[in-house]
Symmetry: C2
Subunit: 392 residues, 2 copies
Amino acid sequence: MQSFNPPRRILMGPGPSDVSPRVLAALARPTIGHLDPAFQDLMEEIKAGLSRLMNAPGYACVPLPAPGTAGMEAAIMNLLQPGERAVIAVNGAFGGRMADMAGRAGAEVVTVDHEWGQPVDAQRVEAVLAERPAKLLAFVHAETSTGALSDAHPLCAAAARHGALSIVDCVTSLGGVPVNAVGWGADVIYSGTQKCLSAPPGLSPIALSSRAQAAIAARTEKPRNWLFDFQLLMSYWGGEGGRTYHHTAPINALYGLHEALVVLFEEGLQAAFVRHARTHGALAAGVEALGLSFLVDAPHRLPQLNAVRVPDGVDEAAVRTHVLNAWGLEIGAGLGPLKGKVWRIGLMGASASDWHVRLCLTALADALNAQGNGADGRRALDAAEASLSRET
Amino acid sequence: MQSFNPPRRILMGPGPSDVSPRVLAALARPTIGHLDPAFQDLMEEIKAGLSRLMNAPGYACVPLPAPGTAGMEAAIMNLLQPGERAVIAVNGAFGGRMADMAGRAGAEVVTVDHEWGQPVDAQRVEAVLAERPAKLLAFVHAETSTGALSDAHPLCAAAARHGALSIVDCVTSLGGVPVNAVGWGADVIYSGTQKCLSAPPGLSPIALSSRAQAAIAARTEKPRNWLFDFQLLMSYWGGEGGRTYHHTAPINALYGLHEALVVLFEEGLQAAFVRHARTHGALAAGVEALGLSFLVDAPHRLPQLNAVRVPDGVDEAAVRTHVLNAWGLEIGAGLGPLKGKVWRIGLMGASASDWHVRLCLTALADALNAQGNGADGRRALDAAEASLSRET
């Protein structure tokens, strides 16, 4: 067993994305204690940064000490008690996961199923909410499995109109497109660090409205999820009247998240959204010049997650292997019903740059050519450059 | 919001312990994808390393993607279904936490309560197991709240004699004193990374026997704990027939754990145990020369966690504040009934060195003197040096 030195990789899959040298350097700063006054100041800064990032003033914002799915589990398991009704919009793998979790919670689960690649339809969801009172509505803002962006505001508003709490999965959206807890009237928002925040995987920021907190306080049964028990978590992260030991916070991972927030605020949130949109435009122009098409219609496409259809006669896995081996480039495969049918190309955080677009188009063209597809890499690059210069 | 630069700290509390520069450097290596072939090789090495560390050949060994308590939650929630009987030995804060979790699982919980600071009494536990069949026995090998070491072998054997599975909390023991899954006949062992492994907090290694795995496979109800659902975890970490996506592994934290294992195996497990015992002997000699005493009787003392009684007339918190501010030294406070009554001094992993012993005794004597206690720091250092030279 010897020290591990990772190979050179360019991360353009569905996450993790490339982590900047600044964030990597932050990870390596000396570990201090989780009850250290200096660490408690850091916790407060992270809470404030998350609140700003999600536009969630007045919400309880904390980074859960586990990967993005922790946010989903915390939201579902803290809000639902056995027998309560949960409406879950499913338009991809992660909506399906929410439904699985709600079932484990002992809830009566009603799914509103959509074709994968479509955004969530607020009218259909509202019709289901109107049938009978539900405890909550849960949906995915940015479906990582398809690259579809759903309009969160009308969905949260529909939930509120029918007395349901709203849970919004923002794992892939946060930092890449606007996330707006207050503007949407969302009750719970959660995300991950390894997408558009470009920190390593391992933390899940979550925000809870006062309405969600009140619902949790009114539980009659403790959740079985001890680490993600929100009331215990808040006695640790809450900061009022001293902290009560709960778990040991993942210190160095939190250094990384903090630095990722500093980097993002230095650039400016709005500038980051523009950068994601601009690089997506260039990638899309290049991909289309290669003769490829998108799974999701243009109005609903996430800039940061591009599901590109595999053309007939092309071996999907062989293309991924080629770009990995020849170019050190990671792109993602399809999940579930999309397995073998799409590639998922991420332009997330530090991976949303002109350089990444050029590399990806070049590598893709090379891999397609290796299969005799006759893709024209020069034409794809020209199309991307034209798009970039239009948007500069 | 600006980049965070931690103050200089020497970590001699109940964890985290000092993280070595080699492990810090590993954390900062470039992030690669969690489905990358190179990362999958790393996963296999970590699994093999954990199996060796816990002497758990034939067990399923994985690092859970969350702090040490994750191991406890995974063990309790995967093994228990509502209505099943759980016998929990409680001799400190973490036994109490196990009982809380088992109650949340809907189990019939029987605690065998001990005075804090005492080891678990195998005869008393066996008497309770003999009363009526139980699904499991859970206990803490090394109580972090008191520094008491319990003898795991007779406890696991008693469980096996009465048809119960055994769960052993080795959060603070792993890497500091022998942990021996096969030798004990333990069914589940879990630990954390921030104690004697000297990696940052954030991961929880766990090992499950085939008997434990069979019990999980026989469940009639899915656990509510999705992230720690062992069957889902093993489809991701299992490695047979390809991996099924579950969560996104915390890549950089796993780089750190891997390097910590490399460092530990380079030193040799046996040598690490000797080092912990030797530095403990020196600290104990010095502490006693300062006129202080231990909570736990010598035969049951953990070398890596020293609960030292606060003498009459000394302000417990003021001593901790003094050593932190003047010496950058973190030592721990007492928990629960021991709050204000003990300090918890860790000699864990990279913090178990002669240098740490010298610094700690010097800082403690200084802090006691600042309160007019008249502690003789020179005498304490001499006692420690004498102990170190006897043991070299």
